[in-house]
Every structure is written in C-alpha cells, then in structure tokens.
C-alpha cells in the first residue's frame, strides 16, 4: 500500500467532506459530497476491498447524489434561505473528533500493520452472499422494495 497515494486520497476526501459540511451553496455541497464518496471508495481500493469501493461509487455517485440533486431542483424556491448555522453543533462535532482521536491514539491494540492477506475476489463475495449471508440478503431485498414503495407513496400527488 503506497503511503503517498494514501495521503493524497485522505487530504482530498477530508477537504471535500469539510466543504460538503460547511459550504453555503447547496449544489456545491452536494458535489463535494460526491467527491467525498469517491475518495472513500479510493480508500476502500487501498484496503483491498475493490468490490465494495465500486459498489459505493455506483450507489452513491450514480444514485444517491443524483437523487439529492433532483430533490434540490424540486425544492428550488427554498434555496437561498439557509443562512446562519447552529454554532454549537460544530463545537460538539469538533469536540467529538478530539475525543475520538485521543481514544484511538491511547489504544495500543489498534497500532498494527496489516497482515498479508489474499485478495477478496468478487467470486468469494458472491459465494458468501449466497450461502452464509442469504438471509440478510433477502431481508435487504425486502427493505429496498419497501423503501421503493414508501418513497413512491410519499411523493405521490395529494388528492384535494
């Protein structure tokens, strides 16, 4: 694993995440959010989970970001009104980050280097999904169907 690539991807991801959290323009924030997720997917690639990285890009950039963008368009009249952020939320988040970092640095058991592992092929993921994880897989399918119908019902025109 190349540490140069890791540093570059991390800086890009975190900068985009901060931009997504703080930019005033909703559209810019959404695009930064998409960049953040591409960065996270790149980190997954570095960690040897290529399949999950590809799924992440596919689902988030291809579907969720486009959904968000469509929602912004449909609620466009409200765009300019997001003025003034809640200051205490940011303070709490920074405090949490400090606490988490302190805890991570104080735990010796996580300061380990990766063991040499066999790459996880798509074939193995597929076999695992179809054998040991088939019950959660079906549940997720049911959940997605329910979400599809629920979202449709929610946005249907109200009868007057």
């Amino acid at each position: 694993m190349s540490s140069v690539a890791f540093a570059l991807i991390t800086i890009l991801t975190l900068a985009a995440a901060l931009a997504a959290a703080t930019l005033q323009n909703l559209m810019h924030a959404t695009l930064s959010f998409a960049v953040t997720l591409v960065g996270v997917a790149a980190l997954f690639f570095l960690l040897g989970a290529e399949f999950v990285g590809l799924v992440l890009v596919f689902v988030y950039v291809g579907a969720v970001a486009v959904l968000i963008v469509f929602t912004i368009l449909l609620t466009r009249r409200d765009l300019g009104k997001d003025r003034g952020a809640n200051f205490w939320g940011a303070v709490l988040a920074v405090g949490l980050f400090g606490g988490l970092t302190w805890a991570i640095l104080k735990t010796p058991s996580v300061a380990i280097v990766a063991p040499h592992i066999r790459a996880l092929t798509v074939k193995r993921i597929g076999e695992a999904l179809m054998t040991g994880y088939v019950w959660p897989l079906q549940c997720v399918g049911l959940l997605l169907t329910a979400a599809l119908i629920g979202a449709l019902v929610l946005v249907m025109e109200e009868k007057r």
Binding site: A17, V40, V55, V59, N86, G89, V113, A146
Partner: protein, 104 residues
C-alpha cells in the same frame, strides 16, 4: 512507512465529525441527510479497515456488513428525500426549524 489501523480510524473519525457538523449545525433538511450519509460512509470505512487489519483475514464479515450498510443507506436516502419533497409540498419550506408542530 505503511499506514497503520490507527491512521484509518482517525480519518474515519474526521469524516464522521464532518458529517456530524452537517447534521447538527445546518437547517436545510437536505444538508442533514448529506451529513447522515457521510457518517454512514465513515462507519463503512471503519468496517473495511478492521476487516483489512484482522489477524485472521479469511472471513469476509467486514465486507459483507459494508455492502449491506450501503444498501440500507441507499434505501434511507430514497425515503428521506421523498420525505423532504412531501414536507416541501405541504409547508413550502425545507428548513427543519419551521417544522415544529405536530398538526398536519
């Protein structure tokens, strides 16, 4: 020097905090959804990192949980955004500060 598990956990914590800033400090409902999605991505990063640094790396549990959590996050985003649109139709606003009454 290769990155250790610690570094990945700190990156994930930073991503989670950025999501928390968006979720706690913004008033626009879509920002809050973006924040939640970023926190979920940070959690996924943790799962994958712990899987990668596992001393017994044969079990693909971390990867499986990440895949399922991505699917669930997608469902959550779809329903959440549908809710935003429904609320906007009703109140003509997407700012969560104005949605403070139970009356429909």
């Amino acid at each position: 020097m290769t990155p250790t598990l610690q570094v990945f956990l700190i990156v994930s914590a930073a991503l989670f905090s950025a999501g928390l800033i968006a979720a706690l400090s913004r008033r626009h409902a879509i920002f809050i959804l973006i924040g939640i999605e970023m926190m979920l991505a940070a959690a996924n990063l943790n799962f994958i990192a712990f899987w990668h640094f596992n001393p017994k790396p044969q079990a693909p549990t971390g990867v499986m949980i990440a895949i399922f959590s991505i699917a669930i996050a997608a469902a959550e985003a779809a329903v959440g955004l549908a809710l935003v649109i429904a609320v906007y139709r009703h109140y003509r606003t997407t700012s969560v500060d104005h949605l403070d009454q139970l009356k429909g």
